[in-house]
Amino acid sequence: MSSAEIASILERHNRGYGGLIAILEEIQAQYGYLPQNVLQDVAEQTGRSLVDVYGVATFYRAFSLKPRGRHLISCCLGTACHVRGGPGIAEEISRQLGIQPGSNTDDMEFTFETVNCLGACALGPVVVVDGRYFPKVKPSAVKDIIEQAREGIGRIQIESDARVFPVEVSCARCNHSLMDQRHVIDGYPPIRVTVAFNNTHGRLLLSSLYGSYSVDSEFDIPPNTVVNMFCPHCHAELIGAANCGECGAPMVPMIVRGGGMVQICSRKGCKGHILDLGGSALS
């Protein structure tokens, strides 16, 4: 970052004494961290001493003086998350990534840090990946979260992808809508079904964005489990004839409002799906 660029950032914050945090935030947004020479420049150009700038930069957790990886994983160790098992989650993330909190992976893919309360204590233990909150995380879900992070999450990405759009579906048997208006996933009401696997059954919310794999499950579904899905209204099993082209597990059909049918693979973690808007699958 050149001195001129810094000068333009400072110009926008009218060089006032009160704007230091805003200035540093802007620099961090552009750079991902606060490089040493930039801090020196800021001190020089604002007429502040370097100790003051450095003091502010080290005081706030949001600022980083070291380069950060592409994905930022923060695990909450606040009081509420702590008693609900936050330390175990942090340990698991450390183990999976092979790094200690506060450091980057060697390939600069991930930065892992622990934070003290994210203000979502009721959802604890909370893990935030690139700005997305994962509530009630269990150690077994960590692997999945890291996988998702690797593939890239974040609503901005989803919305800018033209192939992603919300669908509204209903049960193929009773034709009740499966949309759950009381919850939100990816910014839209999700699809609600009942799942059963290994003697447990409970609620599963699937993102209604076609192409998004965000889910919210009452129980933790181990990766690779093939689950049975049921309509929460008529309790009929949502099952069709097709098998997943990717992994061979049975596909789960649902009727798309406006005509057509969507089928999703019933294996946790498999991304196989078929969208048939022609409606031929119905007849």
Partner: protein, 225 residues
Amino acid sequence: MISLTINGLPVTVDKGTTILEAAKFLGFPIPTLCHMDGLEPYGACRLCVVEIGEGNSARLVTSCTYRAEEGLKVRTASNRVLRARRMIIELLLGTCPQSKVIQDLASAHGVKRQRFKQEHEDCILCGLCVRMCKEQMAAKAIGFQGRGENRRIGTPFDIKSEVCRLCGGCIYVCPACQLRCTYNDPDKAVCGGCANLTPPCVEKEKFDDMMCYMSPCVACEIRKE
């Protein structure tokens, strides 16, 4: 002008005077650690606590930062103040048991035990050096960094500062740099040597050699063989 009473004695001071200064004017001693004439009050060590107000609304404040108010009733040595002060010293002792300044405070205030884990920190974060560097030396070479348990004092990026002139002012004011005499038991939490005025060398069998260079010693009259 503002009139207040300190330990029952009325005193009138200029606006903006701190309780500490007013008490000093009357001659009431208040121990301080992070206060130094010529430096901005900072209120870090809490040692200068006094009690203000009455009844249920009485509370402890740091006299070095609290400005005198009209009609304020201050007590500099109530039971509550003394208890709080001893606790503060005890906590400081836990942080920095090797400091002579703090051990002297402990002796002077009758702190005979220390119930906390001994940390042997290098710094009690009183900020004297930071203020010295900034206000008297006009250098701003060192400052606070980090937060919470990671808070510490240092130069930016922990590299040699370009603005430091190596004046040594920071070391001069540091209460933690001056080491206590370790007696024969460096880990002892409260040395208390100065409190009972027994020179440590009296228990001669615990020393390989006498510590003092006076022979015979004026205190114990033991002569070096």
